[in-house]
């Protein structure tokens, strides 16, 4: 045992080498800017010197929540965002689950449908927005013709242009595009359930409906939670679709305004409105807090939920 001695370990430079690139990019481009944004919400621009910011405590928040002109816009955007989220939660996710349940039976035909049904999800918001803008356009009249097939052309209205229907229409367009994500996640969870767990029920002659709700659904509850959390985070962070469909002014008359478009308008300015970096940072911080609440609720819930290992 001549060569065997305890050596003093040298400093692990290789670990630094492996971690440094990812950590530097992530910290410099994500962590620090995020902290910078959050802290900027406590400042306001010095009117005398635009490059200098003055600490103003919570007054940006006070302005956002109570200002005569601005508060209604902020609360409106928040309300629209909640509606936007609820429509995704209760239209997109149940349809996604239904499609996943059907697909999970397997077979060549269903593999084909799986590929087809996911197609809208890979398209960009820009395309999706313009496709639907054209289809719903009264000038083209395509939707009117389609409704006419069911002799319902009387129902046609310029849904994107009416205050009462614009937000729901935008949400449903987003549902059309995004249905693939919950579908594929539910599908993955469903085909992961081992057959042994279902066989006993099948032998007992339970019908598929009962098997789904009594056995399969409880087993995929973790995925239901994950999909809900993803829907929540994605929706309170949404911007692209509304911006492309309705513009930064989220028309008509701000009826489709959500947090993302409000942030964009505030931060960059729009028409008569001057750009306001610090108020923009305040709105981003509100989005951050809302999303954080969602994520924390999800994580607490996840800790308490039994996950079945099979």
């Amino acid at each position: 045992m001549t060569g065997y001695q305890k050596k003093q370990k040298p400093f692990p430079w290789h670990i630094v080498f492996f971690l440094a690139p990812a950590l530097i990019v992530y910290v410099v481009v994500m962590v620090m800017p995020l902290l910078d944004s959050l802290s900027l919400s406590f400042f306001t621009e010095n009117p005398a010197n635009a490059k200098e910011n003055i600490f103003v405590g919570l007054s940006n928040y006070k302005y956002l929540f109570t200002d005569y002109y601005y508060a209604p816009i902020f609360w409106g955007a928040l309300k629209h965002n909640i509606v936007f989220f609820l429509i995704h939660m209760f239209v997109q996710n149940p349809i996604g689950l239904l499609l996943a349940a059907i697909l999970s039976k397997g077979g060549k035909l269903r593999t084909f449908f799986r590929t087809v049904l996911f197609i809208p999800t890979i398209l960009s918001f820009v395309l999706v927005a313009f496709v639907w803008k054209l289809i719903l356009s009264p000038i083209w009249g395509v939707s009117k013709t389609i409704l006419g097939l069911f002799s319902m052309e009387g129902l046609f209205q310029p849904w994107l242009g009416l205050e009462s229907t614009a937000l729901i229409t935008c949400s449903l367009i987003s549902v059309w595009q995004y249905i693939g994500t919950p579908m594929i996640l539910f599908y993955t969870a469903l085909i992961g359930i081992p057959d042994e767990l279902l066989e006993a029920a099948k032998v007992d002659g339970a019908n598929p409906w009962l098997i789904f709700w009594k056995i399969k659904f409880p087993l995929i509850i973790p995925t239901v939670g994950l999909v809900s959390m993803m829907t929540f985070v994605g929706n309170f962070n949404a911007f692209d679709l509304i911006y492309t469909l309705q513009g930064a002014l989220a028309g008509p008359n701000l009826s489709t305004d959500i947090m993302g478009t409000l942030f964009y308008r505030t931060f960059f300015g729009q028409q008569q409105q001057m750009p306001n970096q610090t108020l923009g940072a305040t709105i981003a911080t509100m989005q951050f807090l809302i999303i954080l609440v969602g994520v924390v609720i999800y994580m607490v819930w996840q800790k308490r939920t039994t996950v079945y290992e099979y």
């Binding site: 670990i15 990812a22 990019v25 992530y26 800017p33 902290l35 890979i122 395309l127 054209l134 013709t145």
Partner: protein, 293 residues
């Protein structure tokens, strides 16, 4: 006579049973067909009408182009008036660079996090995992200020760097679990043979290739489709990506139906082809658990 009645009686429940069984088979398939029509019809309308002359777009919107209605005037307008060539190059440069660097940095970091025990490794993993759930867009104000200070606005580098930061948390999260599955005996054997840690990293890479493919595809699509960062960090004509470029073009030419339909077709077709080639692998990689914790 009696016989037929009794046999009819006998067939009664069996017929309903058959019907129910048939419905149980057919209804799900009908639902799939119904939703597939909803999913594909809008895309069909765009692709079909892009190749028609203006009158036919309005007169026969549902028909496929015939010899009479066929026209490429929209594509001519797009190639003459927009910078689709530049946009495509920009999108490809940004996506490929971001993808390659994400995979490089991601494999290095996850190798270190999975293979070595050191002070702070838990903290670093935690910091990265926060980034999975908190979207990077919330840091927009800070990122724009940073890019202005670095004089990187209206450069492709600004986009590449942000997309790397955006993709790293998920990449590291998934790759770490793969790196942990690499048999330790293999690594020990390499060490005994005198391989350096850097060499071991290089030896491990081929073992996690399936994961790299899956991550690659799932990183690419959001980057290619993103509107937010090009709009905020690099909106100039020279740095616009396909998504931003088509958004601006469509906004400007909203009344030129031939041109917008053509430009939409040009944006849909590449991603559609890419998807149809890789869809099997994509869905296989999700369902095989490559993207699950």
């Amino acid at each position: 006579m009696e016989k037929t009645i009794s046999s009819e009686k006998y067939q009664g429940p069996s017929f309903f049973f058959q019907l129910r069984k048939w419905a149980g088979e057919a209804v799900p398939v009908l639902i799939l067909i119904f939703w597939s029509v909803i999913a594909l019809f809008p895309i069909y309308l765009i692709l079909v009408n892009a190749f028609k002359e203006r009158k036919a777009i309005f007169r026969l919107p549902f028909a496929i182009p015939s010899g009479e209605t066929f026209s490429l005037v929209g594509f001519e307008t797009v190639s003459a008036r927009s910078h689709f060539g530049t946009y495509f190059t920009n999108s490809i440069v940004v996506t490929v660079m971001a993808l390659v660097l994400t995979l490089l940095f991601g494999t290095m970091a996850s190798f270190a996090l999975a293979q070595y025990k050191f002070k702070g490794s838990t903290l670093i993993s935690l910091v990265f995992s926060i980034g999975i759930m908190i979207p990077i867009r919330l840091a927009t104000v800070g990122i724009l200020r940073l890019m202005v200070n670095l004089r990187l606005t209206n450069t492709l580098w600004a986009l590449i760097i942000v997309y790397i930061a955006q993709s790293l948390p998920m990449t590291i999260f998934i790759l770490s679990s793969f790196m942990r599955q690499v048999p330790q005996e293999l690594i020990q054997a390499a060490r005994v043979d005198g391989a350096s840690e850097y060499h071991i990293y290089w030896l491990i890479l081929p073992l996690i290739r399936p994961a790299l493919g899956a991550i690659g595809i799932f990183t690419m699509i959001p980057i290619w489709n993103d509107l937010w960062w090009p709009l905020i960090l690099a909106p100039s004509i020279d740095t616009a990506t396909v998504t931003l470029g088509s958004q601006q073009f469509l906004g400007q030419y909203m009344t030129d139906w031939n041109a917008i339909l053509a430009s939409m077709t040009m944006s849909i077709v590449p991603i559609l082809i890419f998807y149809l080639i890789f869809s099997k692998q994509m869905i296989k990689s999700i369902t095989s658990g490559a993207l699950k914790s």
